[in-house]
């Protein structure tokens, strides 16, 4: 893997962000809106339930964690979509660039852009609504790591879908976090789900993060074993997403889809 080729992918995204503040705005604006909305909902519910339940840590914390995963995923897919929108695949893939370098460049870009949103969320959640991360203790590290790796895996998987089915399939990718969220119990324990939904939830790493978060807020010890499972699952999904993207890329090379990608003739 050559750093200059990974750097080229990142630099391209940096140029785009620097040249167009419109690209920067949604990274901060949407997360800020979500935190403000849920911050006031949490405050209102807190008044109803009283101080015995730490709603800020369980509800607003959950929103923040889920937004983080969503931003990591969208940061990766948006970097990929830039190449879709500018019909750049032929130029890109006719260079010495390797798939591993391309994906590393996309992920690096996703990390950088999602950090922008994360900073905005943290400032609002802690500064305005009093979310205190000390509540989660050291378990905060695996929480963030699992969500981060899962977000990257979802982003790469989304990019693979668009590469395979063409630019029009982009609309399938944006709702993926909303589609996944009911299964991972962002706001409720998996136990309330019907068995088939629970089975799906148990296969998804964020479920363990949110279960763990609720356990800690309720005063129970951090469920390290569950977080170990979550980390293993997230790592597995990341490898799987990379393999799927590579397989789809090989398919596009075999069928000529890359060469005629902008024509949307995928079938």
């Amino acid at each position: 893997m050559k750093a200059s080729r990974v750097g080229a992918i990142v630099l391209r995204q940096f140029y785009l962000l620097r040249g167009s503040p419109v690209r920067l705005l949604p990274m901060v604006a949407w997360v800020a809106i979500d935190i403000v909305l849920w911050g006031f909902i949490t405050r209102y519910l807190g008044e109803l339930t009283g101080p015995r339940v730490n709603l800020t840590a369980s509800l607003l914390g959950a929103v923040l964690f889920w937004e983080f995963l969503t931003r990591v995923m969208q940061g990766t897919t948006t970097a990929f979509f830039e190449d879709v929108w500018s019909r750049n695949f032929l130029n890109l893939f006719a260079t010495p660039l390797k798939i591993s370098e391309y994906l590393t460049g996309l992920v690096t870009t996703g990390v950088c852009t999602s950090l922008l949103g994360l900073v905005a969320m943290l400032l609002l959640a802690t500064g305005v609504f009093g979310l205190d991360f000390v509540v989660y203790g050291i378990a905060l590290v695996p929480f963030v790591a699992v969500l981060f790796v899962t977000g990257i895996a979802l982003g790469i998987f989304g990019a693979a879908i668009v590469l395979r089915f063409g630019p029009a399939s982009e609309w399938l990718i944006w709702p993926i976090p909303s589609l996944v969220s009911p299964f991972v119990g962002v706001f409720y324990p998996l136990a309330v789900l019907p068995p088939w939904m629970r089975a799906i939830g148990e296969a998804l790493p964020p479920s363990y993060v949110f279960e763990g978060m609720r356990a800690i807020v309720a005063g129970r010890p951090a469920p390290w074993e569950m977080l170990g499972i979550a980390a293993a699952l997230a790592g597995g999904y990341l490898v799987l997403a990379g393999l799927i993207f590579t397989r789809v890329y090989r398919y596009t090379i075999r069928t000529g889809l890359i060469a005629r990608y902008s024509a949307e003739t995928a079938s």
Binding site: Y15, L90, P96
Partner: protein, 259 residues
């Protein structure tokens, strides 16, 4: 990156052997073998759908051949894709550079991908050479067709490739600019001993620029030779008439990757 002072290698910069590409029962390219030697400009001509772009796409590594081998500068494309493509570059009318980056930004991004040493100096050189000084900070998407072609050619020469693939490089540009571009490419090929594979529908251009011509129809090479010799051998008044004759005798199928 090749050194201009280095002795000319006897090895072809491009050696494609038995190239085939099928889509189901349809053979878009059928047993094409071709070579491009250092300093040689080879024209790949044929009617629409003959398989020219399919051949170019396979050489660029964006389309996997159903059969056959491709060696760029002696490096097997199938076995060492990245190393082989580092020796090549291309410009095609259907592959403009991202319009939302400036000329300089595009050259920097692609220069990094090709691992060009002393990139800033190389970008300055190309911007000067292709008369892009006043467009340096302009987004590529707002340039005219001729200016975009010059940017694409500047990008194609960033890594001083041993093999340059040009798919209709002068399509949709005015005759004066086209002549200027032809002169630059010929100068590049001869000065750097680079091999050039050039597709065009302009037979006057092909006759002027190419040392050798390959006539492709229905995915097969029908004729090959020096333009003057082909014209004489087939008793045609010029290359365009010969082209029309061949195209009528062997109508294309319309298969392939936009070929």
């Amino acid at each position: 990156m090749p050194d201009a002072a280095a002795p000319i290698s006897a090895e072809p910069v491009l050696a494609a052997t038995g190239l085939c590409k099928s889509y189901g029962d349809l053979a878009a390219v059928d047993g094409v073998s071709l070579e491009v030697r250092p300093g040689e400009i080879v024209g790949l001509v044929g009617p629409n759908g003959a398989g020219k772009t399919t051949v170019i796409s396979m050489i660029l590594g964006v389309l996997k051949p159903s059969a056959g081998t491709i060696r760029i500068g002696g490096v097997d494309l199938a076995k060492a894709r990245s190393r082989a493509l580092a020796l090549a570059n291309f410009a095609a009318v259907y592959a403009p550079l991202p319009g939302n980056l400036s000329v300089e930004q595009n050259l920097r991004v692609f220069g990094m991908m090709y691992g060009v040493p002393q990139l800033s100096a190389r970008i300055d050189e190309l911007i000067e050479e292709f008369d892009l000084v006043r467009h340096r900070k302009v987004k590529a998407g707002v340039l005219s067709s001729g200016e975009q072609t010059r940017v694409a050619l500047a990008k194609a020469m960033l890594n001083q490739p041993r093999l340059l693939l040009l798919d209709e490089p002068t399509a949709s540009i005015d005759p004066a600019t086209a002549r200027d571009i032809r002169a630059r490419i010929m100068e590049f090929a001869h000065a750097r001993q680079a091999g050039v594979l050039w597709t065009s529908h302009n037979m006057y251009e092909v006759a002027e620029v190419c040392d050798r011509v390959l006539f492709l129809s229905r995915g097969k090479i029908l004729l090959t030779g020096e333009p003057e010799r082909l014209i004489a051998e087939h008793d045609a008044p010029n290359l365009e008439e010969l082209f029309i004759r061949v195209a009528h005798e062997h109508p294309a199928t319309g298969a392939g990757v936009g070929a």
